[in-house]
Symmetry: C2
Subunit: 109 residues, 2 copies
Amino acid sequence: MIDALSAAAEPTRRRILQLLASQELTVGEIAAEFTVTRSAISQHLLLLAEVGLVTAEKVGRQRIYRVEPSGLRRLQAEIDRFWTHELDLLVADARAHKSQHTTESETHP
Amino acid sequence: MIDALSAAAEPTRRRILQLLASQELTVGEIAAEFTVTRSAISQHLLLLAEVGLVTAEKVGRQRIYRVEPSGLRRLQAEIDRFWTHELDLLVADARAHKSQHTTESETHP
DNA sequence: ACTATGCGTTAGTGATGACTAACGTATCCC
DNA sequence: GGGATACGTTAGTCATCACTAACGCATAGT
């Protein structure tokens, strides 16, 4: 899996990261938010830990998972490296087009 | 594949989008930048077109591919929806820790 | 010590993805 | 028309992934 962006892009893991963003949670608490089994969540968490996006602290018989800020920073760096200035300009372009209603036909510079 | 973020996260497609960000290109021109076959690139392009991130214009016997700004905007929206305020705070936290050799004096509680 | 709980681990399955090779098709040039 | 070019398309392979079910292991509570 190697890179953080690929790991974080997966829908389930995306939601997991969002949950952990606001507060640290145990595996069970996270799994309660999903329809899949706790085992599946556990494996997603291990993968996220592998790429350094989360860390686990063993407390009693539970594992408290939390986001690892340094890993998150690497993720942001990957996103930033992808989202170049040119892409930003194109998005601004789309915004301009959108503001002039729906059709985008015959609106070329 | 359904969502743009999952599609754009794949390393090869990421590079393709970056190439197309600065200029429109034909399939052959794109494929020349990779070690994989032109067929593989073509399929990646079709997938990117499916999720609305690129469009193709047939010109003679070539196909000019370019980034679709509206699709790119949807991608940015997905990223923004993922990158919540909480995650931003955590990243700021990581930055504070990393730059402890430059500015270190009492950062947070 | 016994049992229940909270997790990780393993094995196995089905689906999907990335890729190559070969083929089909439209277009350009002579 | 004939051959080369620029693609998409298809079929098939191999690896990876998301998932479930069953098990194993440590800890907490009694």
